[in-house]
Symmetry: C2
Subunit: 335 residues, 2 copies
């Protein structure tokens, strides 16, 4: 297994990214190709014991910055780590690519250099989300702010394949985000997508409301990229808000402060169970290759986890499975 | 001040609703008109000491049930508590109407019997939301799942008036929900509404992301009724999810359990600060009268608080202020 890692992407690159790559090479027994400025990567690698590990460097002289406009930058910076990394996947020299850099840039580079899977209308970003019933996936979370009903059907298909092949959930429950539980509630987009999902052969359970998301009623939560983006960011914001409120209230008296001290391991436990970095990033589903968009603020553990998820995605044969399922649906619609 | 209360609306009506009405009549020194089945209301009133309180009953023989289809029910049940209650506002015999019943029914009854304020395209449900910077309002949260840019501008105007006149926040910061902070991010609807908001004369601060909502960056959070509905329900769901996680983690060891016990007042404090029932319900803005949709599960305190908010809304002259502001904007667009 060879996985390409954008050594220049992310708020703490290359230092933290290279460190994550070293951790992954050691723990996952995978070859981690570090793509970026050779000298900078070499300086970082020197800090670690890499004996026996396979960490080749592939040189790329340019970097797509966080402030760059994605489409322009991908066109202009042909020797950027992102474009070179995608090229490795395209040529079959790597089986996956991971970047914590400009997420718009990753999406555009994937579309330009890998292309969409045949029949897929729009690739989608698929976030893994903690819930009371274990991890679920929610898509799209930002690749497509305006969607058509057919996109949502395809998101459901791709999300189901991801849950089955990568997270090992058989026949995952699919729900569509709406404003009420009953069929007939929701926007025009939801009403039309509902019809497609009902006839899809997926394990479709109907509408899910905002409050149902953390309950895990659905394991594949389908929505447009606007709503999905708001959902994952609001959940993140609410987590911070709760933590702050608890801290403020606990400080109000010596007794509650003592209680808070004793309960500290429990708060750490809650934090761990809500830790998005467990999944290392957000896969981009629907392109011709395994691509994971890691969080800009990824630490080395998050990078390592992203590499781990990439490995599982490749081993699970996700791309082939998406091709088959999309193909089958296209055939069904024709016939 | 005379406020009409739908004694038959809500999961625990008439018992809990009448109790809330009695509390309000006592604490707010307002006349609370109880609308519904006379005998049932009378039986409930008997349970309380109502001496010196003004709690007239206005008889209505029918009830719009939670399972009724709003438009049909409002047309068919002319002697329902909801229709009769709206009639009291229409005739000027009450200055506000509150119901914890079928929320679709309340909206339809308000539209049919009170009508829209001249110039308002679509009334909106306006939720009050706790944030790190104090309460904010978010609208629309469900009256209009599909919106046009002009609706969002009007939501911003009405929400600003509400914050100023009812919650006493001068020049409230207005933000529009989007997928990124920078201008130019978001759906087609957001991009077009952004342009209108920029030229609105409101205190418009631009886009707010999901994570910014609980921070209170904006005090009037404008969005379409689909996204708004998902936001308030997700926030509610996340609150429950956190509480559960904390409880589970605290039970893991005797020490953390002891800590949890000592910190209990702090958890109660957090719960109180997140308590939506403080505001008693969701005002329906843009109709020709003060109408508050209370939660179906309202307890007597929530009902009392809804009556309190109704009183403040009337005293703040909200309806007149909305009329003026909408009128001014319509004039500006003409001229």
């Amino acid at each position: 297994m060879r996985i390409a890692l954008d050594a220049m992407g992310g708020d703490y690159a290359p230092e933290v990214v290279v460190e994550g790559g070293v951790l992954a090479a050691r723990e996952l027994e995978a070859e981690v190709i570090l793509v970026g400025r050779e000298e900078a990567i070499y300086q970082e690698l020197k800090k670690h014991d890499t004996s026996g590990l396979s960490l080749p460097i592939v040189s790329a002289s340019q970097v797509i910055e966080m402030t760059d406009k994605p489409a322009q930058a991908v066109k202009a910076k042909k020797d950027s780590s992102m474009v070179v990394g995608m090229g490795l996947v395209k040529k079959g020299e790597a089986q996956a690519f991971i970047s914590a850099g400009n997420s718009g840039g990753v999406m555009v580079a994937a579309l330009f250099h890998l292309g969409r899977i045949k029949g897929v209308q729009r690739p989608a970003l698929c976030a893994i989300f903690p819930s009371h019933e274990g991890p679920l996936c929610i898509l799209d979370v930002g690749a497509n702010t305006d969607c058509k009903p057919l996109y949502l059907l395809q998101f459901a298909i791709m999300g189901s394949v991801y849950m089955e092949r990568v997270l090992g959930v058989g026949k995952p429950r699919v729900g569509i985000v709406s404003t009420g539980e009953e069929e007939g509630k929701g926007s025009q987009l939801v009403l039309e997508a509902y019809e497609l999902l009902k006839r899809s052969g997926l394990n479709f359970i109907g509408n899910v409301e905002g409050k149902d998301v953390p309950l895990g009623l659905a394991q594949v939560v389908v929505t447009d990229g606007f709503t999905g983006n708001v959902i994952v960011k609001l959940a993140e914001g609410m987590a911070g808000f709760f933590a702050e409120l608890v801290e403020e209230e606990i400080k109000r008296s010596p007794l509650t402060a003592l209680g808070g001290l004793l309960a500290k391991p429990a708060f750490r436990g809650v934090k761990m169970r809500l830790d998005y970095s467990e999944y290392g990033g957000v896969p981009l589903l629907g392109v011709e290759g395994v691509v994971i968009v890691a969080h800009g603020r990824s630490n080395s553990k998050a990078i390592k986890n992203a590499l781990y998820m990439a490995k599982r995605t490749v081993e699970g044969g996700m791309i082939e499975a998406i091709k088959e399922e999309i193909e089958r649906k296209v055939e069904e619609r024709r016939g």
